[in-house]
Symmetry: C3
Subunit: 274 residues, 3 copies
Amino acid sequence: MPDRSPTLAAQARLSHDLLQAVRRDAPLVQCLTNFVSMNYAANALLAIGASPAMVHAAEEAPEFARLSGAVVINIGTLSAPWLDSMLLTAGSAGRAGTPWVLDPVAHHATAFRRDAVARLLDLRPAVIRGNASEIIALAGGQSAGKGVDARDAVAQAEESARALAAARQTVVAVTGETDYVTDGSRALRITGGSPWMPRVTATGCALTAVVGAFAAVSRDDPYAAAVAALSCFGIAGASAHDQAQGPGSYAWRFLDALAALDAASLVRASPLRA
Amino acid sequence: MPDRSPTLAAQARLSHDLLQAVRRDAPLVQCLTNFVSMNYAANALLAIGASPAMVHAAEEAPEFARLSGAVVINIGTLSAPWLDSMLLTAGSAGRAGTPWVLDPVAHHATAFRRDAVARLLDLRPAVIRGNASEIIALAGGQSAGKGVDARDAVAQAEESARALAAARQTVVAVTGETDYVTDGSRALRITGGSPWMPRVTATGCALTAVVGAFAAVSRDDPYAAAVAALSCFGIAGASAHDQAQGPGSYAWRFLDALAALDAASLVRASPLRA
Amino acid sequence: MPDRSPTLAAQARLSHDLLQAVRRDAPLVQCLTNFVSMNYAANALLAIGASPAMVHAAEEAPEFARLSGAVVINIGTLSAPWLDSMLLTAGSAGRAGTPWVLDPVAHHATAFRRDAVARLLDLRPAVIRGNASEIIALAGGQSAGKGVDARDAVAQAEESARALAAARQTVVAVTGETDYVTDGSRALRITGGSPWMPRVTATGCALTAVVGAFAAVSRDDPYAAAVAALSCFGIAGASAHDQAQGPGSYAWRFLDALAALDAASLVRASPLRA
């Protein structure tokens, strides 16, 4: 990848501005997310300054999507009634111009999930956030992962991510030890985080929710939204690491770090890399 | 409001006695509550000394309500099957003389919720606990809130709360920076808490659950139950604030503070105000 | 009970080996568990070194059970669609040779639960984990418990546990202040833990999930799996106690302790008793 230092610096400043916008506007982020992550994702949204709304039923979720700043759809604990509602809500979001973000949790594990994700993809998410195994499989590749864990490294998923983003005209964020974000043409990497993060359940789902918060304040540029959200997780995630003594203490220290995150650090200690 | 200091002192002593009763009796509190709050509400109930039971299915929840000390119904993540069960369970609780408490989360956000709450209200909750926006809208007023956040101040909701309590012969608790409780004729305010509280998801839902615990030991006086529960949250909430460094640490420190709450402090440092 | 010290020492060494196997293999543990416990159980599985997958829908859970190292079924927040899926998934697990673990939460509280557990039992769980009241009732005895709490002491449940294990050719683990594990002929007790444990919701459900992790690496010996899981909870549970100041801090300190658990301590400070 060519040296993009000036672009990276501009992107870092944009992340700074978007974090301030999230804190100023407290965008309403509607999540149709899995049961495991609901509490932690809501707390992450509150910590970053957004306003979570876990509204999922088919009777109201499509209507609510018209009020929302962004919609987040995560198939972690999928079931048939939830899928119906996700499809209706993503459709409603699309018609209303509300950006929506997809987390295709373990979509390659069963036929039910594969079919669900294929139908959701057709409804044009603004951003897709997954681990390397999920993104490789989503682009049609052969993943080593069987469950919700990533068995593949992010670097192995870069080509898949780029192809998927280009084919679907979306932004793809692959997260792992170093993250990778691409819109099919642009791409960059985000460092930071902590080895404890994959040992705390729902941190990935919380990240997807926070991508939604940034998408709400960056409707024209979902690439910038994804980069900003991942940057916040990178910096706050590393900051929480230093004081944590295990996954239990990491979980709450990370929320404290997200809430205390100094926007200036997104520029001063930018985690962005070419 | 006239000076009610003697009444406030008597009310504080009653709160003290009710907390001791909760700890002695460990009342069974059945919660049909939202997915986001289930874990935190159960932990708050355990911390205060009650026994939580998250039993929600239509096949058993109405039957279980006859065994419960109180029932708590919270529409945060409502869906059609849950609403059916809530209506059956509230009805069963009513017939059995089991007090039930309503948390009308964001009921003004969608038609589905508005209709649900109208039907639940007809089943006569002993206490309604909500934020200012929810209570104003419930009384037929125009609220500034759009989602689960309160965009209105508690003081603006006092008249709505009083009218709602009188019209429905119930107790209404409006929570915010300073809380307000009324049964339509009596009213008082409760101080304490922490600015971190609204930054931790499910603290309001946990409070509603704890109102249920107190309602179970104060069946003839749901006003006293609401005042006692809010007082516990006021004092424990302020005590947790001093040591918390953010919303993550506040969440667990608050549970520690609830469990460690000295009943005498409800009198000695009463958070009640006229 | 006769002195079984040599057997206890061998069992302790086996627990040590099984913990190392869990950490090496990171077995995929599929949980159909209650909403209250999902997050905490997933975090406990990650802390011990396993890989959680909360996959519950009838459309995919039976298929997923063929990939899983073990399946955990917990009826805490049961509903009709979940019960259908539990029955299908337990059946699929049985056909695939995947061990499955049953947590019959409050099964004696309602007719719906009693019937559900009777049908699940016929599908032959490898291990049943419950509190004393649940196990007594499951063996046909008269329990003092009404809700999810144990109102009976473990010692009172030992005969019930032994009879149930023998009749159903399964392993029964009764947990409380001192735990009891039996396969109908063998039996032992496990000490440790903390008085805070029953004051933190979902610790029992998390334990059942961790029994699943051990069952995945000890398919031929579910008795050893249950003993190892309870030993980890005993030692990590006592270790967390020393630094906790209440149920809030205990919850995360316990996860830290599980992750930091030195396998050698299972032998050196064995919590096993005759």
